[in-house]
């Protein structure tokens, strides 16, 4: 049966290649840090299940230490020139979007079509991980198609991938780390404690008040932290799951999906989300550094109300 290990192997080999190519990249003063960071990620993906829980914990502390001391730099792999790219963009046209389109289309088609395919009674693909396995296939097919069409040097996809992952840096692991934090919260019973606190404030039996407490809470907490990903495990453990899902019987997929989007409304309204709101104001030479936020509030507030009503109307 093909399952997550298949996708993890792809990811592990890719991170291993990033680590190796980083190690020999003389353009990056901090190449040792990059090689160590992506190397640890490769170990995690290729051998995480064999490390044991404490081993994985120490691996995480290693990643955090590297990020915390600023050990990562940015590699500068040899790539094509702007002029060359512009000319190729003109010549190749919109067909350039096709390989990128293969990935989500394969993931979608695989999810919908591969569920019932089996070998000798057992399913060919782990039914619980159909989408992610299909995504893995999609990447391999897209890569093969792009290589056949564009005929770049053999190492080009890995070097270009490394260029992109270096521009993301340690932030590439943040969502996974936040998911792990959510798991620790669940273990320690954080949700139950906050649920009791918030439950006392919300009028008894008011489903709308519970939904609004979650969506508005997501937006406010996101504004404080500048990051909906960070707010999500906290607010969902505190209000979303105990109140909206368990007490009132909301569908967890709908509640969580719309809850995250309510958080995004908060992102539109906070200077703490500097990348989205303050950096562009600087890039565009705006006199008012909060100019972008001011242009967004009129969209964010009604959209937050809409998300609240959507959750209220769809999740029950």
């Amino acid at each position: 049966m093909i399952g997550l290990p298949f996708v993890y192997t792809i990811a592990g080999l890719m991170f291993a290649a990033f680590a190796g190519l980083s190690a020999v990249d003389r353009s990056n003063r901090k190449r040792v840090g990059n090689a160590a960071f992506w190397g640890l990620m490769a170990v995690s993906f290729l051998a995480g299940d064999a490390l044991g829980d404490l081993g994985n914990g120490l691996l995480v502390l290693g990643l955090v230490a590297l990020a915390g001391i600023g050990a990562l730099g940015r590699g500068a792999p040899v790539t094509t020139t702007i002029e060359g790219r512009r000319a190729e963009a003109g010549a190749r046209g919109n067909r350039l979007f096709i390989p990128a389109l293969i990935i989500p289309l394969t993931a979608l088609a695989g999810t919908l079509l591969l569920a019932d395919i089996g070998v000798g009674g057992a399913p060919l693909i782990d039914p619980k991980q159909l989408t992610l396995v299909s995504l893995g296939f999609g990447v391999l097919i897209a890569l093969a198609a792009a290589m056949a069409w564009l005929r770049p040097p053999a190492l080009a996809p890995l070097q270009e991938g490394r260029r992109l992952i270096d521009s993301v840096g340690w932030a590439a692991v943040l969502p996974q780390m936040l998911a792990a934090l959510g798991a620790v919260f669940a273990l320690a019973g954080v949700g139950a404690v906050v649920g009791d606190l918030v439950g006392g404030v919300i009028p008894d039996g008011s489903r709308l008040a519970a939904v609004a407490a979650y969506t508005v809470g997501m937006a406010l907490f996101t504004m404080v932290m500048g990051n909906a990903f960070a707010a999500f495990p906290v607010m969902t453990a505190a209000v979303g799951l105990p109140l909206v899902v368990r007490q009132f019987g909301g569908d967890p997929a709908i509640v969580a999906a719309i809850g995250m989007l309510a958080g995004f409304c908060g992102t539109l309204m906070t200077p703490m989300a500097a990348n989205f709101n303050i950096v562009p104001a600087a890039l565009l030479d705006l006199k008012d550094r909060n100019g972008v936020i001011k242009a967004q509030i009129g969209t964010a507030l009604p959209l937050l109300v809409a998300n609240t009503l959507l959750m209220y109307g769809l999740a029950f």
């Binding site: 914990g57 919260f185 404690v193 906050v194 932290m225 960070a230 997929a253 989007l261 705006l286 998300n307």
Partner: protein, 224 residues
């Protein structure tokens, strides 16, 4: 009550702008310790959770494909497409960009455009030009407002398009979080529920862009 100290660590750590990976890890350790676990047990629990949630990070396997396409002009092509838009007014131009951004983000191409890649070099100058064509000379405040709307439109488009992509990291984070709370959901069942909000976001922001057109026309008339 003590188990809430982890939440306090997150809030204070982010406010102080410390490295987020560090903040999250300290928050996890503090929460576990406050919950009565000893240090090695907490580290092991966090390590197990990290290992169980690896699929949140597998979205990065798309990077070699996207990088390769960028090497052959993907971003430049996106710019040519946007640059070729013929729209008579600021609002209509930004509505087309909003749609472009939502649709491309929904198929996983959220990084082909952005404030540095497209807004500054392309969308902002195009909106300024559209404003001048339609309304004549515009004052500095109006110019700033028009540019701010260009950046705002980029944010709204990508925020409320990307979650439709089934392998977006936010979708996988949700899946991982629910799973550690004993609820199994598929990425597809999450991403379809991003569609209603995406439509509402398009309608609300699109309507505001049309209002911006009216406001600009009004301002130009008043100045004359």
């Amino acid at each position: 009550m003590l188990v809430l100290s982890g939440i306090a660590v997150v809030v204070v750590g982010f406010l102080l702008r410390l490295n987020p990976l560090l903040v999250v890890t300290v928050a996890a350790l503090v929460t576990g310790l406050a919950g009565g676990l000893d240090l090695p047990t907490v580290i092991a629990a966090f390590g197990k959770a990290f290992n169980d949630n690896r699929y949140v990070s597998i979205i990065w396997i798309v990077l070699p494909v996207i990088g390769l396409l960028e090497r052959h002009g993907l971003q430049e092509r996106a710019r040519q497409v946007i640059g070729g838009v013929k729209a008579a007014t600021v609002g209509r131009l930004l509505i087309v960009y909003l749609l472009f951004r939502q649709v491309t983000a929904a198929i996983g191409l959220h990084s082909i455009a952005g404030h540095a890649q497209t807004v500054r070099p392309l969308v902002a100058p195009m909106t300024e030009a559209a404003a001048e064509n339609k309304h004549g000379d515009i004052d500095a405040d109006t110019r700033d407002e028009v540019k701010a709307y260009a950046a705002a439109t980029d944010n709204v488009g990508v925020f409320f398009g990307e979650d439709i992509f089934i392998a977006m990291s936010s979708i996988l984070l949700i899946k991982g979080f629910l799973e550690s709370n004993g609820i199994i959901v598929t990425p597809l069942s999450l991403s379809v529920w991003a569609i209603p909000t995406a439509i509402v976001a398009f309608v609300i922001h699109g309507f505001r862009l049309l209002l911006l057109d009216r406001k600009l026309a009004h301002g130009a008339k008043a100045a004359r």
